[in-house]
Amino acid sequence: MSIHEMTAFEIRKGIVKKQFSARDVVTAFFDRIYEKEPLVDGFLTLCREEALAKARQIGEKIKAGEPAGKLAGVPVAVKDNICTDGIRTTCASRMLHDFIPPYDATVVKRLKEADAVIIGKTNMDEFAMGSSTENSAFKKTKNPWNRERVPGGSSGGSAAVVSAGMAALALGSDTGGSIRQPAAFCGVVGLKPTYGLVSRFGLIAFGSSLDQIGPLAKNIKDSALALETIQGRDKYDSTSVRHSITKDYMSTIECGVKGMKIGVPVEFFDSGLDEEIALSIKACIRKFKEIGAFVEDISLPVIEEGLSAYYIISSAEASSNLGRFDGLRYGYRTKNYNSLDQLVERSRSGGFGEEVKRRIMLGTFALSSGYYDAYYGRAQKLRTAIKEQFIKAFESYDILLSPVSPVLPFKIGEKAADPLEMYLSDIYTVNINLAGLPALSMPCGISRTGLPIGLQIIGPHFGEEKLFKAAYALEQELKLTVMHPML
């Protein structure tokens, strides 16, 4: 097996056992990148020099017999809305085309401390707003399974580079499905952790009460390994977990699902769902029953209104979060102005793309005096109701199953002209963010047209252990351990 096909586990093991060096790994991945990146366009910035320097450092550690970190030598790609000290971080926006953060996000710091090797920053929808990565100001990423199709979004670059073997692991961010949907589209494992489990410090905010960083990986164990590395309390993020979680998922991941109670919300299988996806999910349900889980249908009626609540809350927070991009201190600044107001207005008009402007206007409107109660206030009430309904469901069930996306990866340009159509692709994922729950997207089949299909497993707050247990058991049954697209 070539190094670039290996999982994070296998790479670390190989390095620790001195079968190959961290330098060999970095070289192998960059060879792969030079070959395949022109076909995929998943990266916005590559950091070969920094990666080689880190590989040297790991080599010295191994040579000196010092303990190697949890992700020693594992090449990781980082979504370009997560700050990396000294490395350009653009949010795929013209606004931040030249922005170089003066600090590392907490997750990046933790990756580095675990001896992971950051190899580059990945493409995304501008400021994480979108479901196809077509909203990037710089390039369109292609789905490695079919280059005429989108990789999903907004973490499309991260999903595509893992799928194409150009990174062993990647970090994404998920505000309404931005890790899970691209993971499903590209046939990789994507996890949105419980809100607060992973620090957001250094994640350029979109919807602060919804945003969560999570890993995209080749299989379930890699996903768990990555989460173990980045999770836990951070004193720089007041919304991160109070208790210091040092949970290890590996000790229980192989325990199986015997006796596990699984709920299947019927609202997630309505008429809008692609038939092939529905069939594939049903096959998974049968598998779960075969291996000893108890599965039944449940109803969560309130989630049908989740999409509108989501778009109001996320846009409202975004309109505030993106106010700081005024051209004064960093980022894009118009050359053509006669007054302060003009400078700010023209810098924002020129720096932001269409979708970002649309959401800023939507959010500004929703928060305006006179409209607040009707929009933001009502959305918050709905959000509370949705959260309560999920909490109630988890009194009876360990996990819930659903599709990730109502549709298979669509063609580039197919939905770009219709924002509402695009928003509908988040219909199965947004409720999870509103409720702050953890959910995992894993490959569960391939369509007749050769496109990956994803299954969503939803857990109770801080129930990641259950997600991994169920996902790992299913992964073993499906024998789709690592799916490689033909590139």
């Binding site: 997560i82 994640l203 905010a205 007041s238 919304t239 409202a316 505030s320 106010g323």
Partner: protein, 481 residues
């Protein structure tokens, strides 16, 4: 027609914390531009706030001092607007659930005390500062103040005159100083005041359109601005032109001595307040509240009472000394050394105040430690130098920081209390002024005063006046025999 003036104040005070509200940068005043900044208070993308506990405690302390109800759970909100001094494009503040509600401040002497009710106190962050370079048209931004913790204290419209507003602000300032809440340096902007003012006909119960006044940077400006605005509005009412009073913000122009329109209600921002998603609720547990209560220092009212009873000072003296935390502490330090309260008050209210004013120093910057002043007072009491000389020595101590004993010795200011030496001086003076002796003998007692003056002059002011007078009188009596 007679009118009633309705005034409400909004006071911003910078809290005495070591670090800023959301990061660990120093909150101090006077650093080089942008020296006290970090990615968090510069609003660099991706950064997040962490609430400073010390600031929360000081806000609660303020609430307790001002008799407010403390919210067990309050919330931080975002106030969104664009301005270059606001790096996140929103100010993190408190909107509908502030940390303190209600409360009051009593102003005036105990007999004619007036209770001014407070509406609320909330916690928020300060913004940076714009510096406009006159000639080049360039504006610079200093973010040192960005993120410095503030409390905003909002009164009810209970004040009825400019004088009352000033009295309230003085009382509040003194309480904030006593509580260790804020430096309250108005000239540095650590205590800032905006005023809302409207007029109504006597007997009317509803409130009329109010005008907000800004740029009131001292008690004097507050007084003048309110008086000007009161008169402006009164004129309009008198001429039945009250429709010209608009809900607007007016800036006090101290040089011109008038208020000028800044912005009208129509120009007002829609701040789009919403709960700050990056911070959890601000929770004050019963235990914390109890702990804070235990650390509350003595407040001015209590101290005034104590000073009256313990030291027997007069009300006017108490108002000045206790009205200023630093002065009252100096007074107590001085009496603790052994100086009697009367001379302590005299020295502080006399020479001390005069010198502070001359040097432009604040009461917290008295360069003479109380122990040193006590030594000086003792030297005078022992008759080693005269009071006049003592004042000269004090001025010298104030300017040079040298000790009293040192100055007295070096300047040769010690009084002549030696009988032999005085005897010689007096004899010389009497021999030189025989006519005065004759005058005295003729019953002109004025002659003694003249002779005393001669003695002081001959001794270059060093003769112990009391002793010299006794000896002179004795000699004159003998001379008559």
């Amino acid at each position: 027609m007679s009118f009633e003036t309705i005034i409400g104040l909004e006071i911003h005070a910078e809290l005495n914390t070591r670090s800023k509200l959301f990061c660990s940068c120093p909150a101090e005043f006077g650093a080089k531009p942008n020296e006290n900044t970090c990615p968090i208070c510069l609003g660099i993308p991706g950064t997040m706030p962490v609430l400073n506990e010390e600031a929360v405690i000081l806000a609660v302390k303020t609430g307790l001092i001002l008799n407010c109800e403390i919210a067990a759970e309050s919330r931080m909100d975002r106030k969104n607007y664009f301005y270059p001094d606001l790096p996140k494009a929103y100010q993190t503040t408190q909107y509908d659930i502030p940390i303190c509600r209600g409360g009051y401040v009593d102003i005036g002497a105990p007999e004619v005390s007036r209770r001014i009710r407070l509406n609320r106190i909330h916690l928020e962050e300060d913004a940076g500062k714009l510096i406009h370079l006159e000639d080049s048209g360039v504006s610079l931004i200093d973010y040192n103040r960005s993120g410095v913790p503030l409390i905003e204290i909002v009164t009810e419209p209970d004040l009825r005159s400019a004088g009352e507003a000033v009295a309230f602000l003085k009382a509040l300032k003194s309480m904030l100083e006593y509580g260790g809440i804020s430096d309250c340096h108005m000239e540095q902007g650590s205590l800032r005041c905006d005023a809302n003012i409207s007029l109504r006909r006597k007997g009317q119960n509803t409130l009329n359109t109010k005008v907000e006044l800004k740029n009131l940077n001292s008690f004097k400006e507050l007084q003048k601005a309110l008086e000007y605005e009161e008169e402006r509005q009164r004129e309009l009412y008198t001429h039945r032109e009250e429709s010209k009073i608009m809900q607007e913000t007016r800036r006090w122009d101290g040089e011109k001595g008038e208020t000028v329109p800044m912005r009208s209600k129509e120009d007002a921002n829609d701040y789009r307040y919403f709960p700050e998603p990056d911070l959890g609720p601000v929770i004050i547990s019963d235990t914390l509240l109890r702990e804070i209560k235990e650390t509350l220092p003595e407040m001015p009212m209590a101290r005034k009472k104590r000073f009256r009873e313990l030291y027997g000072l007069r009300d006017k003296e108490i108002d000045i000394i206790v009205g200023d935390k630093a002065l009252s502490e100096y007074f107590e330090a001085l009496t603790a050394c052994g100086t009697d309260p009367r001379s302590a008050a005299n020295w502080i209210l006399g020479s001390m105040m005069k010198l502070l004013k001359e040097k432009g120093l604040k009461t917290g910057q008295i360069p003479v430690p109380p122990e040193e002043l006590h030594k000086l007072i003792k030297i005078i009491a022992e008759g080693r130098i005269s009071i006049t000389a003592g004042q000269e020595v004090f001025s010298e101590m104030f300017n040079t920081g040298r000790s009293a004993g040192d100055i007295v010795n070096k300047k040769g200011l010690s009084q002549i209390s030696n009988r032999t030496e005085l005897e010689r001086i007096i004899t010389d003076v009497l021999n030189d002024n025989p006519q005065s002796l004759l005058d005295y003998a003729a019953g002109k007692t004025q002659a003694a005063v003249f002779l005393m003056g001669r003695i002081m002059k001959a001794s270059k002011g060093k003769a112990n006046p009391q002793l010299a007078r006794e000896m002179l009188e004795e000699k004159l009596r003998k001379g008559l025999l």
